[in-house]
Symmetry: C3
Subunit: 381 residues, 3 copies
Amino acid sequence: MNDDPREREGEQPPELPADGNLLGGSRFGLDRRGFLAVGGSGALFCTLAVTGGDPKEARRLARAADAAAARVKQPQGIARDAVDRLSFATPQPQPGGQAREYWLQARSVVWDYAPTGRDEWMGARVPGPRKRRFRAYVYQQYSAGFAAPIGHPAIPGPTLHAEVGDTLVVHFRNGDDHFNQAVTMHPHGVRYTPDYDGSYFGDFTRVGGFIAPGEEFTYTWEAVPGAVGVWPYHDHGPNHTLNTARGLFGAVVIRERGARAPDVEKIVYLHSFGPEVTGFDQVVQCINGRSYAGNTPTVRAKVGQDVALHVIGGDANFHTFHIHGHRWTDAAGVDVDTREVGPFETLTARFLEDNPGRWMYHCHVFPHQDAGMAGWYLVDP
Amino acid sequence: MNDDPREREGEQPPELPADGNLLGGSRFGLDRRGFLAVGGSGALFCTLAVTGGDPKEARRLARAADAAAARVKQPQGIARDAVDRLSFATPQPQPGGQAREYWLQARSVVWDYAPTGRDEWMGARVPGPRKRRFRAYVYQQYSAGFAAPIGHPAIPGPTLHAEVGDTLVVHFRNGDDHFNQAVTMHPHGVRYTPDYDGSYFGDFTRVGGFIAPGEEFTYTWEAVPGAVGVWPYHDHGPNHTLNTARGLFGAVVIRERGARAPDVEKIVYLHSFGPEVTGFDQVVQCINGRSYAGNTPTVRAKVGQDVALHVIGGDANFHTFHIHGHRWTDAAGVDVDTREVGPFETLTARFLEDNPGRWMYHCHVFPHQDAGMAGWYLVDP
Amino acid sequence: MNDDPREREGEQPPELPADGNLLGGSRFGLDRRGFLAVGGSGALFCTLAVTGGDPKEARRLARAADAAAARVKQPQGIARDAVDRLSFATPQPQPGGQAREYWLQARSVVWDYAPTGRDEWMGARVPGPRKRRFRAYVYQQYSAGFAAPIGHPAIPGPTLHAEVGDTLVVHFRNGDDHFNQAVTMHPHGVRYTPDYDGSYFGDFTRVGGFIAPGEEFTYTWEAVPGAVGVWPYHDHGPNHTLNTARGLFGAVVIRERGARAPDVEKIVYLHSFGPEVTGFDQVVQCINGRSYAGNTPTVRAKVGQDVALHVIGGDANFHTFHIHGHRWTDAAGVDVDTREVGPFETLTARFLEDNPGRWMYHCHVFPHQDAGMAGWYLVDP
C-alpha cells in the first residue's frame, strides 16, 4: 500500500454536513461498543450468508447484536435536511374505498421447523438434531383491539388484503417480552408517507420506525393502482436482519377493485433459519417456517381451478421455484416451469389446473431443495 | 433458549396423518444410518455450494451418499391420499402429431474436463491438476432397441426434439455398473402424468421414479402448446443432486408445428464439477462438461444467419451469460447483452448475426469465467 | 476412481488444431509459474467470491496475480482461424450522427470507502478499521488531448453519452505507474469490431486488448439502434477480475436521437471491495465506491420529476435493488419495488416522482445492505 500523500489528491471526500456532530458521539446513549455491535451485524450476516460461517461465531455475534439492539433508545429525530421537517397527513381511503383494519402483534415463540420429524420426500428421518425447537419471532393476528389471538402463531404472519382505493390500517403492537428490542412493520408495494415507512433510520427515524417493547403504533398504507400485486412486509427496526430471519415477515395482497381471487392462492416464502437464529449448527432451508415435505405446506387444488402461488424470497439467497407437471406464462408471455426469485421479490405462478396427481414444488437450487425447501402439491381430478 | 412449556402453545403442529407409521421405520429396508446419509446429502451440497467446502469432507459425504443410494430398494408405493390411487393412460400424439422415439442409456464414463490442457483465452496451461480425468455420469443416445451407441458420450446428453402435438417416447435404460444405484429422467416443460415424472418420491414413488441398475423404462411426455421452448431434463432419483452434478442432464427442444429451426442452435449448459464429483480439490467451472476456451464448445456462425444459444443453468449457482460484440432482444422487448440464468432455468439469446470476427461468450460472474466458464464464438463474414 | 483403460473410449476429445504449438510453450515470454498465477486468478476469485475466503490467502494470491500480469508481454497476434485474419474499417457516424470524443486515463489512486467514518442509517461509526484507505484503480476523465483532469477521480468512471447513429470515440491512456500491467476498456451494448472489443484474448488478442502502461489507444464504438439503454464498461485485460474489482468500471448511456433525458438520472453501481483489493480482512459492500449511507450517493429529486436510477451489478454477487416508498413498472408491465440485478446486468428503475420525504435505497440482500450497500434518496415536495 503506497501512502504517498501526493496521491491523496485522488481522494474525493463527500461534502461534510455543517453539523459537526456527524463524526461525534451518538444521540442515543448507546456506547461505542454497542454501536459497533449493531453496525457489525452487517458483517455478521454477510459472513453467515456467504460463507456458511462458523456456527459458534454466528451465535456469538447474534447475541452481541441482540444485546446492542436492546440498548438502542428511541431516536429523537433530527431535521438536518428540509425533507426531515416535512409533515404528512394520514392517508384516507379513496371514494368507494375502505379502511381495512388489522391488529398484529410481534411475539417470540418456540418453534419447531419440522414437527413430524420426517422428510416424506426421501422417506427418511429429518437429518440434524432430534430437538428442532428454537425461539422464532412472528407477527400474530389478533381480533379488534388486540382482544384475542386469531389462530396459532405462523410463519409468515397474516396476509393483509386490500383493493385499489383502500387503505390498510394496521394496528401493531410489539408484544415481545423476550428479545427486549424495538421492531417495526415495513411494507413493500403499497404507498406510504415517511411516517408509515416502518424503518429505523438512526437519527432520522420517524414515528413508525421504532416500536419499543410494549408499545403500539398504527400504520396506514395506501392501495394505489401501481400497488396491485403481492408484496412482502417485514421488520425494519434496528436489528432487522436478525429479526426478519427469525420469522418477522408476511405478505400484502392488493387487487383491483372487485377482482376475483384465484380459487387456490398460497403465499410461499422461501427462506432459511441459520445457526444465529436456531442455535443449531446447520442451516435449515424452509418454506413458510417449516422444512421437508410433510412439514412444509401441502397445497391442494382440483382440475379446473385457477391456482396462484405467490413465491417470495425471504432470506439472503436467490432461489428458482419449480413445480412438477406444470408450467405458467410469465408477464412477458413466456411459458416457464422454473423461475428465479431473489431476496424480497415476489414471483407469481398462476395457471389453470389441468394435471391431477401428487406433485412436488421446490426450490431448484439442489442444496436448498435437499435441505428441506420442498413440499407437496396434490391435485384432485 | 427458553424452553418454558407455557410457550409451547405457540407451536402449531401440522396435522399428523392417521397412518401411525409416519414416524416409524422405513418400508425400504434401509437402516437409519443409510437414511441419514441420504437425507444428509442436502446438507452436504448446501455446504459444498455455499461455502466452497472442505474438499476432503465433500468427498467423504459423497461416498456416504453413494453408499446409501446403493442400498435404497424399489419403493412399493403407498396410497395415503386419494391422488396416490389415481391411474393414468399413456398419452398419445395429437391428430397430425407423431411419437418421437429415443433410446437413452445412463452410463458412467471416464471424463476429462479439459482435454487440450490449455486455456486458449489466457494462452496458459489449465490450472490445477495435470490429470483431469474423473468418473462422470452421462445420458448416451443409442439406436433403436439399444442396438448401438450413437456418437461418443457427451455432457449434456442428447437433445430431444418434438413439435406441438407430438409425444416424446424415451426408452431409458440404467446401464451403469459402477455406481450401482437407481437413476431416472425428469423433464421440464413438457406435460406428463405422475407415472412419467421421473422423480423419486420416497414411499410415494411411481413407476418412472426409480430405475434400478440394469432396468429399463419408457417415458412418454407430451409436447403441449405451452411446452414450446427449450428445457432441461435431469436425474431425479434418490441421489439426484450428486448424479446430476456428475453430468446426468440434457435438453428438450419443443417447437411449434412446422416452425423453422434457427440456422445455428446450441445448447449451452453452465455448470460446475466440485470435489465431491471429481475427487480434486478445486471447483471446475464448465460449459457442456468442459472447462476453458478451446475445450468448451467453439460455436461457429456466418453473417446473415439466425443464431440461437439456449443457455441452461446446470448447477446450484446463478450465472449471467454474456456474448461479446452482440446483443439480443428479450421477451419483454429489451435489448440486452448479459442476462442472468438461475439453476435449471433456460435463457435463449437469439439474434441475426451481423458482426464477423473472433468473439468470446462467457458467464459474467468473474470467478466462474476465470475458472473455465468461457468459450469462443467465431463468425465468418 | 476406476482408471480401466477400456472405459477411456467414453472420452470424447475435442479436435486438436493442426498448430502443434497449442500444447507447447507460450509466445509471451511468460514462464509457466507466471501463467499458473494468471490462470489461477480464476480459482482465486472463485474462492474469494464464494467462500468469503481467507483474507490472508486472498491477499497473497492477488499479489501473485499482479506480479504475473506485470510480466505478460504484448501479444503478437496469431491467425489460426480465418476469422483471425479479418481486417476491419473504423466505424464512422451515421448520417446526422456525430463522433462523441472522450479522453479517459486509467490511474490507481488512494481511496477511502467511507470518508465520513459514519453510517448515517444506523447512526453509528462505520464498523471495521479506522483507516479505510487503499489503492483503488479508476478511469478518470480528461479534457481534449489529455490536457487536464476533469473533476476528481471517481468510482464509477465517467458516464459516456451518445445517441443512435453516433460513434463513441474514446481516447484511452494507461496512465498508471503503480500496478505496471496492461488494462483495457471493454464496453457492453454498443457495437464494435474485434479491434475495439477491448479484451485480452491471449494469442488471439487484437490491438485494443492490451494497453500497456504509458500507452494510448483510441476505441471507436457504434451507437446502433439495439444499443439504446444503459450499459457497463470495464477492464478486460489480462488481470481484469482484480482490476475491475479495484474500480475500473463505468457506464455508457445510449439514447434515441433527440430523446429527452430524465430530470434526475443516476448510475448506481452495486459492488464490493474484498480483502484482495483493500488489504483489510472484511468485504466492504459499496455503491459507487463508497460504503454506508452518507458516504454512498445521496440522490435528490423533486415531486413531479422524471427519475431514472440505472443500477448495474459490478461484482460477482447477485443483488436485489429496492427503494422505499416507490415502485416502478418493468418492461413487461409489472409494478415492482425490488428487482434482481446480476453481475454486469443493468436494471433501470424509472418513475414519476410523487412521494416527498427521506427515503432509503439499498440492496435487499440483508448482508449487503448491512455492510454498507445503502444510501439516501431525498425528495422535496
